[in-house]
Every structure is written in structure tokens, then in C-alpha cells.
Symmetry: C2
């Protein structure tokens, strides 16, 4: 890690502390860097905004994309104060980051009550064995719409 | 599936079609039901809002939580026109849905270019073998903030 990289992570951790102190949400922060400059930063906002998806990483991704006017962050680096949960990991892949730095681990988060591992475990289970039951219906109708998408000449791929 | 359940899924699929036709985003729709009534619905909005996290499920979750003034949807059922990607699956668990219905499969989505399976595969890989490199730094500093959270008397758990 270069000195700059340490500084960016320290900022992510400071945001985690600040958000927690101010009651914004859990003790998590994230910073997004492009060309050596911070373009977006956020702390967890779940409880203050009533949005279970407002983890620090996702809040920062939304801000960065809004700033860049793009739904891709392929030249960007994410600094997050904790190893991403499955939701945020998915968001990181959809955003197509260049690189990710994280500080605390899943196990560290679990030790203070944030059980990401439970979700990782659920992902690996067959649907019928999951704690939240998943059931399939109306597949053919949905696939018909997919075929229309596939044939759509002016679609915007992502 | 009862008649009502079919109706809810058909609505999710109609939203997928509508969003695609109107250029809102990909061919995906989601509906959230509580006590037998739709409380939120959305189609994919990634490309129209420059938000890579604006999948139909997450957009609907945000709307439902806003409407209920809660970051939990534990009495709610999600109807989504396609099997959720890892990001949305994570969001479903954090929202604590009671049940999920889906229509098209991951494989159906992959056939029209939405490769959720790639992300599922990445999740299972050790960090160093992932396509997006993940690197750890500054763990001790981040864990110090976690300890402050653990000791915080007025924290709002989620």
C-alpha cells in the first residue's frame, strides 16, 4: 500500500466512525477513488434512511455513478472499512470496479453482530433448503419478455 | 400458487415488459406484497438512472421500506420476474422477507446476456483468485471502530 492508499482507507474508517457517532447507521464507511482522487464517500445509512440496501459501499456507488453520469465504475478503486457482504459484493461486480481494498473481515463484523456469513451460507444452499423459501412460477411468461429484450434493436446493454 | 399469487407474478412480469419497452432498463420487474396487497413495484432502472444497484428488486425494496417507514420487510412477499442475482439475494436477506417467488431462472437470464452466474462463481473464490482483486489493509483501525459500536449504548441494531 502506498501512502495515498493508506490515506484513502483511513478516510473510509473515519467515515465509519463518524456515521456511527452521528447515528447514521452501522460502523461502516466507503470511499471511491478515480485517478487518485476521492469522487464519492459514504457511511452506512440503513437505519437513518430506512433503506436496508444503504450499506456504505452501495451508498458510495450511487453517489459516484451519479457524479460520473455512468452506471459503470471500471476505472475506480473502492476502499471499504469492512469486507463486503454478498449484496455489496454483487454491487461491486455490477459496477465493474478495477480494485477493492477492505480493512476488517467478515469475522470481525460477525463478532459485533453483523452476520454476513449467514447470507453467504444461504447463497450456497439449494433454494428449497433456504431459510427464506424461494418458489418458482410463471417462468414461460417471463422468458417471453427476455426474448423480446434479445430482439430489441435499441436496447442499452449493461 | 393461488390465483392472487399468479396475479402478482403477472404484474411483476408486466413491469419487466413495460420497463424494457420504455427504456428504463433491463427486462426485469418486481412487486412487494403485504397482507395481500401490493405496497411497492418497480422495473429495472440501471441504465436510465445510472445506478448499477437499481435492479427491480432493490428499487422495489427501497420503495416498500420508504412506504412502511422501516428497514425491515419481514411480513412481506417478493415477486420477481427473474431469480435474484447475488446483490439482490443479499438485499432480500437484509430486508428479511417472509417469502420469495421468482419466474425466469439464472440460466434464462444468462441466455440473454445477464451473467449472474459469473458473480456467484466469483463469490466462492478465494479473494486473491477473483477477477476484481481484493486486498486487505488497516484492519486494526477498522476493528477499533467496531469495538466502539459494540460498546455504544444508544446504537440502533439492524
Amino acid at each position: 500500500m502506498s501512502k495515498d492508499q493508506n490515506t484513502f482507507m483511513q478516510r473510509a474508517i473515519a467515515l465509519a466512525d463518524q456515521g456511527m457517532q452521528e447515528g447514521t447507521g452501522g460502523p461502516f464507511g466507503a470511499v471511491i477513488v478515480k485517478n487518485g482522487e476521492i469522487i464519492a464517500e459514504a457511511s452506512n445509512q440503513v437505519t437513518s434512511t430506512n433503506d436496508p440496501t444503504a450499506h456504505a459501499e452501495i451508498a458510495a456507488i450511487r453517489l459516484a455513478c451519479d457524479k460520473l453520469g455512468s452506471f459503470q465504475l471500471d476505472d475506480c478503486i473502492l476502499y471499504t472499512s469492512c469486507e463486503p457482504c454478498p449484496m455489496c459484493l454483487g454491487a461491486i461486480y455490477w459496477s465493474r470496479f478495477k480494485q477493492v481494498f477492505y480493512a476488517a473481515t467478515q469475522e470481525d463484523a460477525a463478532a459485533i453482530g453483523f452476520d454476513d456469513q449467514f447470507i453467504y451460507d444461504e447463497l450456497e444452499k439449494p433454494m428449497k433448503n433456504r431459510k427464506i423459501p424461494f418458489e418458482q412460477t410463471e417462468r414461460d411468461q417471463a422468458v417471453d419478455i427476455f426474448k423480446k429484450w434479445d430482439a430489441k434493436s435499441d436496447r442499452v446493454d449493461y
